[in-house]
């Protein structure tokens, strides 16, 4: 642990040294920043994961467009170094933001105004130091809950049995690395990730995980880092199917792709948090006919939806024929359907008909 931290501190120090070298030799001080724009992100077909390329850009100090970001980068690097050196417990990125936010005397502005400013810079530092933020002593707020046949030994020493977590399920902790969240037992036949809490809650109440001997998890919509990283660990460590269940709309499809391939925004993190074996279980356009989903639960695609379909269609990781067809079918169909809407067929429809039928007939998209 101490050794890992020494390496990180040395990397942070290097950033500062580089800047000082520039100043001492009379140059415009700069830092090398990994380019995180879409141009430097690629989908690696071989591994099936979105990866960050090797492009770098200089961030200069004496440049009115970059000076503020330059300053912010140094402030965050400094703070992370300090916290690690003092062996503090991990902070949220929001806490880190608040510890640094203050008015710059004489400039009439704050170091940071909103968290949206510090978040991308934390990502810059992750990339510069080639270190996940969880190892930089930073966490994101997790949202997920899980139930099913898994036993975990927490860093606290608590042993958590996810078959015995009551109506609420077991909460996903902010850090899910093995040293924090050691999976002792896993006897599930498959893992089912549900987009929405409400659907997870219904399945949990009906003890779907028990009847089907599976692990039932939700990230409450777009998953946070912890849920993604945890799913990646499941794939790495256990050879069981992983199914993603979302709304039938471009947003739902995208959530599936985030779990499976990662995301452009967090391309650096994606390499460590992608889950290549994940399969898309539904809802898909075929289901509308196959299950005769009632028209009252269809919702017209709006302009934003259609625009998003176009965008997604062009992503390299959606180029498989089956997915291109799904996307164009959706567009042709002209309606979206949310997974919650299955309750309008019958409350038990999801657990008793829909999911078993899909799994039995292996009707997945990949």
């Amino acid at each position: 642990m101490a050794k890992k931290n020494d390496a990180i501190i040395s990397k942070l120090k290097n950033i500062g040294e580089g800047v000082l070298d520039d100043v001492e030799s009379g140059h415009n001080p700069s830092m090398d920043i990994m380019t995180r724009s879409i141009n430097n992100v690629h989908f690696d077909e071989a591994s099936g994961v979105i990866k960050l390329g090797n492009d770098r850009q200089k961030r200069f100090y004496f440049n009115v467009n970059q000076a503020k970001k330059f300053l912010q980068t140094l402030l965050i690097a400094k703070q992370i170094k300090t916290l690690i050196e003092q062996d503090k417990p991990p902070l949220s990125i929001r806490q880190l933001f608040y510890t640094l936010k203050h008015e710059i005397p004489g400039a009439g502005e704050n170091t940071f105004d909103v968290q949206e400013e510090s978040d991308p810079i934390i990502e810059d530092i992750e990339a510069i130091t080639d270190t996940l933020r969880e190892d930089l002593n930073l966490i994101a707020t997790p949202n997920g809950v899980i139930s099913g046949p898994m036993v975990v030994e927490d860093k606290t020493g608590d042993v958590l049995d996810f078959t015995r977590m009551g109506s609420a399920g077991g909460a996903v902790p902010p850090i899910v690395e093995d040293d924090y969240f050691h999976i002792k037992e896993m006897s599930a036949d498959y893992i089912l990730v549900v987009e929405k809490y409400a659907v997870w809650n219904l399945l949990n109440q009906e003890k779907y995980w028990k009847k089907n001997n599976c692990l039932l998890m939700t990230g409450k919509g777009q998953p946070a880092r912890a849920e993604r990283r945890l799913l990646a660990r499941f794939a790495e460590e256990f050879d069981i199917p992983i199914y993603i269940f979302t709304d039938m709309d471009p947003w739902g499809y995208y959530i599936y792709s985030v779990y499976k391939y990662g995301s452009i925004n967090l391309a650096f993190f994606s390499e460590k948090a992608a889950c290549p074996p994940a399969k898309y279980i539904g809802l898909s356009v075929r289901d509308v006919m196959d299950f005769q989903l009632p028209k009252s639960s269809w919702i017209k695609l709006n302009d934003e939806d259609n625009k998003r379909i176009e965008e997604i269609s062009s992503y390299p990781w959606f180029q498989k024929e089956r997915w291109q067809k799904e996307l164009s079918d959706l567009k042709k169909f002209g309606y979206k359907i949310e997974q919650d809407a299955l309750v309008s067929k019958s409350i038990e429809f999801t657990s008793n008909n829909y999911l078993p039928h899909k799994i039995e007939n292996k009707e997945f998209l990949e």
């Binding site: 100043v23 001492e24 995180r36 961030r59 004496f62 330059f70 170094k81 710059i104 004489g106």
Partner: protein
């Protein structure tokens, strides 16, 4: 149906009866009925028109006689509606033989046929004021004039007989009290004295700007005295009378000139009856027109096709621009002085265009843009228009000057121009002066210049030239402000940067800060300005 029935009862040609009603109309009757055409419509405007006509005459007379003008204007209230107006000058005076007709006959004057810049030209203005005065007050105008310190001053009370358009003298006597050379006119008329944008004071202020050699003293109806002092003691150069310029002359005019000339040889005719046409040019023109230069002009006048060819040749053969000396521009220098004397401003730019010609009349455009200072910050730019040193007070929206200015996209010049607005907003004043031997007004009230393309183009070019200077001024002002702001921000940032670097590297904070400030002071401009296309490093 009834009325159309009548038409069928024929009782000899109707034309016979109609013909009996035809008769001549006197020009005085015409303008009495149409006095709004001469600027006598609303009551405040009647006052300004009257003063303007009198002041124009005074200025013209003084300048023709090389006298620095000193003009006294007094307005008194007679009753609720009636004002008594006096305008008195130190000019040459008017000889008693012509004085009654100068003030009592429309279309009578000395400057109509001369191609030369002057204020009055048509011989209508002051007579129209007399006409309006007698129409509304029933009283004659009183004119006093003294032409030599040794001769007595004559005083006339006179009216205009509208049916004949001739003066009617009611009394004529010697005024013992009028001791210095000059002319004085006193008219009583229905009129109203107001303040503001279209007021006598504003008129005098603007007149003073474009006549920096004149002094004006004004006593308002409340007995308050205003003096507009000279900005210059030098009289403007007297404009020289010239022959017409071939560029833009019209077929009909040319035919008439050919008909009436005594000269027997076409080339000599061209050479002597047109300005800037020398013997060589005259020969060239004839050759281009394929006409014998020795032809008798009167013979050519019978051959319309030949005259048309001659006219075509005028356009093709290059003739020098009309001479500038028939015009009396204010000059950029004096325009500047005039504006600065009247107004506290931050910036001023002037421009003057070369002499140009339209329909054979030379003209020249001068422009000023003033910015900031006491100029009203809210609302759109002020346009101040002048023609032949006379301010144009009314009908801004109908004027070629306004239209030319409105053609400009002011955003190109760093100025704010709200969507759909035709003028920029902010503390901006645009002055335009058109000097011409014959300013083409849209009406005899001389409020607006007609939309003649050549004039509009020159106005636009002159104003654009000023606008470019203002634009440079504004962008430099903005740049300086931004540079100062940038340095201040970098100084503030540097403290934070130095502290962070000190924590990261363990080096001394004060030393780091000093090194940074060093670079900032020596090279900031280089660094700040070399901004790459877009900062994508952050990768959002």
């Amino acid at each position: 149906m009834t009325s159309s029935k009548v038409s069928r009862e024929e009782k000899g040609p109707i034309a016979l009866e109609l013909a009996k009603k035809q008769k001549s109309i006197s020009v005085a009757e015409f303008f009495e009925k149409n006095r709004h055409m001469l600027g006598f419509d609303s009551l405040p405007r009647c006052l300004i028109t009257c003063i303007k006509e009198a002041v124009d005459n005074s200025l013209d007379a003084c300048e023709e006689s090389s006298i620095l003008p000193d003009i006294y204007i007094r307005i008194r209230k007679v009753d609720d509606k009636m004002l008594n107006i006096v305008v008195e000058d130190n000019g040459p005076g008017i000889h008693k033989d012509v004085l009654p007709r100068v003030f009592g006959k429309l279309l009578y004057g000395s400057r109509f046929h001369a191609i030369r810049q002057s204020r009055g030209q048509q011989g209508i203005g002051i007579s129209a004021a007399v006409l309006y005065g007698q129409l509304t007050s029933g009283k004659p105008a009183r004119i006093t004039s003294k032409i030599d310190s040794k001769l007595p001053a004559y005083m006339y009370d006179l009216k205009i007989d509208t049916e004949t358009n001739e003066p009617r003298i009611l009394s004529e006597r010697i005024d013992e009290f009028f001791t210095s050379k000059g002319t004085r006119i006193e008219i009583e008329m229905e009129a109203a004295y107001v303040r503001g944008r279209q007021s006598v004071l504003e008129y005098l202020k603007n007149t003073s700007i474009v006549n920096p050699h004149a002094r004006f003293t004004f006593i308002d109806p409340y007995n308050e005295r205003f003096t507009f002092e000279r900005a210059s003691d030098i009289l403007p150069k007297k404009p020289v009378e010239i022959k017409p310029h071939p560029r833009g002359i019209e077929l009909g005019t040319l035919v008439k000139m050919l008909q009436v000339t005594d000269i027997k040889k076409l080339s000599s005719f061209l050479n002597s009856e047109f300005t800037k046409v020398g013997g060589y040019t005259a020969e060239n023109i004839c050759r281009e027109a394929n006409i014998d230069p020795n032809m008798v002009p009167h013979d050519l006048s019978m051959d319309i096709e030949g005259v048309k060819r001659l006219l075509g040749a005028f356009q093709k053969i290059k003739v020098m621009s009309p001479p500038r000396d028939c015009l009396s521009p204010i000059t950029e220098d004096l325009l500047k002085k005039g504006v600065i004397q009247n107004c506290n401003i931050d910036f001023i730019a002037t421009a003057s265009r070369p002499v140009n010609a339209s329909r054979g009349n030379p003209f020249m455009v001068e422009a000023v843009i003033a910015f900031g200072g006491d100029i009203e910050r809210e609302g759109k730019a002020d346009i101040i228009r002048f023609a032949n040193r006379v301010p144009l007070m009314y009908q801004q929206g109908a004027c070629a000057i306004t239209h030319a200015i409105e053609r400009i996209n002011w955003k190109h010049y760093n100025m704010e121009q709200p969507k759909n607005a035709k003028l920029p907003s902010g503390p901006i004043m645009v002055l335009v002066h058109i000097a011409s031997t014959n300013v083409p007004f849209t009406s005899e009230s001389k409020d607006a210049v007609a939309d003649i393309p050549e004039i509009m183009d020159d106005v636009e070019l002159a104003v654009r030239q000023c606008a470019r200077e203002l634009s440079r001024f504004l962008s430099e002002q903005k740049k300086a402000l931004e540079a100062r702001k940038k340095i201040r921000i970098f100084e503030s940032y540097t403290k934070e940067v130095a502290n962070a670097l000190s924590v990261l590297t363990g080096k001394d904070e004060a030393h780091i800060e000093a090194r940074f400030l060093d670079i900032l002071n020596k090279k900031y401009s280089k660094f700040i300005e070399e901004i790459p296309a877009e900062d994508n490093a952050g990768g959002e």
